[in-house]
């Protein structure tokens, strides 16, 4: 468990698979070794009108924490995170009368997972209801749990293989939490932020 930074990588004129291939080559050239695949998915449920003002529950899974289900509830004023065992999905099925999912919003990011020294790099192909939307690069620096202490280092590392697409400032979600202890839930928040952006963006050719 360390600090994770998630960012989009522009695909410009390339296709999705060729972009992943390009990044794989670059990271492998640095000495990274592929260690399996990863998958982060997100299903979004909204409250039925009978429950009053609309609320949204995002249910996310991360293959890095396979026994946990992460949920984020958005009420409009508040955002409440919840971590539970895997059976929470079963409970959501019980709630189908109160909260319903829009099938066309199911988002996921999946692809190869690399390890290189203290870093773990994941190159994710993002799809929203099976439509290709873009590329997300996740980098985790494992020895530290305080973002402020390792952001500079991580930015340098990111620039090493992503080049100029790396922003100068940390992701918006992290900016308010630079001095706090980082938890897996923070990674989930970053994914949700990105998925929300992708859902609004128009589709791309794969």
């Amino acid at each position: 468990m360390g600090v994770t930074v998630l960012q989009q990588f522009p695909i410009e004129t390339r296709t999705g698979p060729s972009t992943i291939e390009l990044l794989s080559k670059r990271i492998s050239a640095l000495g990274a070794v592929q260690q399996g695949q990863f998958l982060v998915d997100c299903e979004t449920y909204t409250s039925t009108p009978a429950l009053g003002h609309q609320r949204t529950v995002h249910v996310l899974h991360n293959s890095e924490q396979p026994a946990t289900v992460f949920s984020i509830l958005e009420t409009g004023q508040k955002t409440i995170p919840l971590a539970t065992d895997g059976l929470f999905d079963l409970l959501m099925m019980k709630m189908s009368g109160f909260y319903t999912s829009k099938k066309q919003t199911k988002a996921e990011s999946k692809g190869p997972r690399y390890e290189i020294g203290d870093f773990c790099v994941k190159l994710g192909t993002v799809t929203v209801s099976q439509n290709f939307k873009g590329i997300l690069v996740e980098v985790e620096y494992r020895p530290s749990v305080v973002p402020a202490l390792c952001w500079e280092l991580m930015r340098e590392f990111l620039q090493g293989f992503l080049g100029s697409s790396v922003p100068a400032t940390p992701p918006a979600y992290l900016q308010n939490r630079m001095q706090e202890l980082y938890t897996p839930m923070d990674t989930i928040h970053q994914y949700l932020e990105q998925f929300t952006i992708f859902r609004k963006s128009p589709g791309l050719r794969p």
């Binding site: 009978a50 429950l51 009053g52 003002h53």
Partner: protein
């Protein structure tokens, strides 16, 4: 005639062997249980095993005392040849307990008379009995009978007391109250007597229009025990000490021996 006897002997031997084998296997399984499952073994299964063995013993003695069973004691087994060599067939037959049919083992296995020492002792006792005068013997018998009948009385008395107590316990002693069970289950399951007038965070939810039902069954302040009639409560209080006494006794009695 002889053929029939032989047949009878064969069939009764067969049934005796079978019963002895049954007995042997259940003793073996009991030993196995005691040695290997002593952590999980419970009284009921142990007693079941014991009952099984005692049943098998009874059926064995029934076979032995049956009319059709020939008098085994009138038959002799003659060892024709002893050999210090290992006899594989014998070993197999006896589950490797006896491997040779040799002079040091045969007298023990084929003995039909008592051991010489025991025989001597019996002779001495019989001699002593025959020299006893009639009056003396009679005296000893009455003294002995007196002791036995006294013990018999003691045991009977204890048994009676025990029975009276256990029937009394069955009808009067109460360790739990059905009303309390229902009260607790209704409270934990449906919130009976636990419901609050207001939500704990005092935040009325706009969807829950008809939900804030005033809790029922709350006369005054304390629900549950407070609503009991006062005399019932006093009664249970008074009864408590005596009930504790009986209960300590009964706890030892409910030991699986009672089953």
């Amino acid at each position: 005639m002889q053929q029939r006897e032989e047949k009878q002997l064969e069939s009764s031997l067969e049934s005796i062997v079978q019963r002895v084998n049954d007995l042997k296997s259940s003793i073996a399984s009991m030993i196995f249980k005691v040695e290997n499952e002593y952590e999980t073994l419970n009284w009921p299964t142990f007693l079941d095993n014991y009952a099984l063995i005692s049943g098998q013993l009874t059926s064995l003695s029934k076979v032995l005392s049956h009319d059709k069973c020939p008098a085994l004691r009138s038959l002799t087994v003659l060892p024709l040849m002893l050999s210090p060599e290992r006899d594989d067939q014998l070993a197999q037959l006896t589950e490797h307990r006896v491997t040779t049919f040799a002079h040091d083992l045969v007298p023990d296995y084929l003995r039909t008379k008592l051991e010489p020492m025991a025989e001597n002792k019996m002779m001495q006792l019989e001699h002593k009995a025959s020299t006893l005068t009639y009056d003396n013997a009679q005296k000893q018998i009455t003294a002995y009978q007196k002791v036995v009948s006294h013990v018999w009385e003691l045991v009977n008395k204890a048994k009676e007391e025990w029975e009276v107590e256990s029937t009394a316990r069955g009808s009067t002693q109460q360790n739990s109250s059905v009303a309390d069970t229902h009260l607790l289950v209704a409270a934990v399951g449906m919130g009976k007597g636990l419901k609050m007038g207001t939500a704990p965070n005092g935040q009325p939810s706009q969807t829950s229009g008809g939900m804030m039902v005033a809790p029922q069954g709350r006369p005054g302040g304390t629900p549950g025990q407070g609503s009991l009639p006062p005399n019932t409560q006093a009664m249970t209080m008074n009864k408590a000490p005596s009930a504790i006494k009986t209960n300590i006794k009964s706890a030892t009695q409910i030991h699986p021996y009672g089953r």
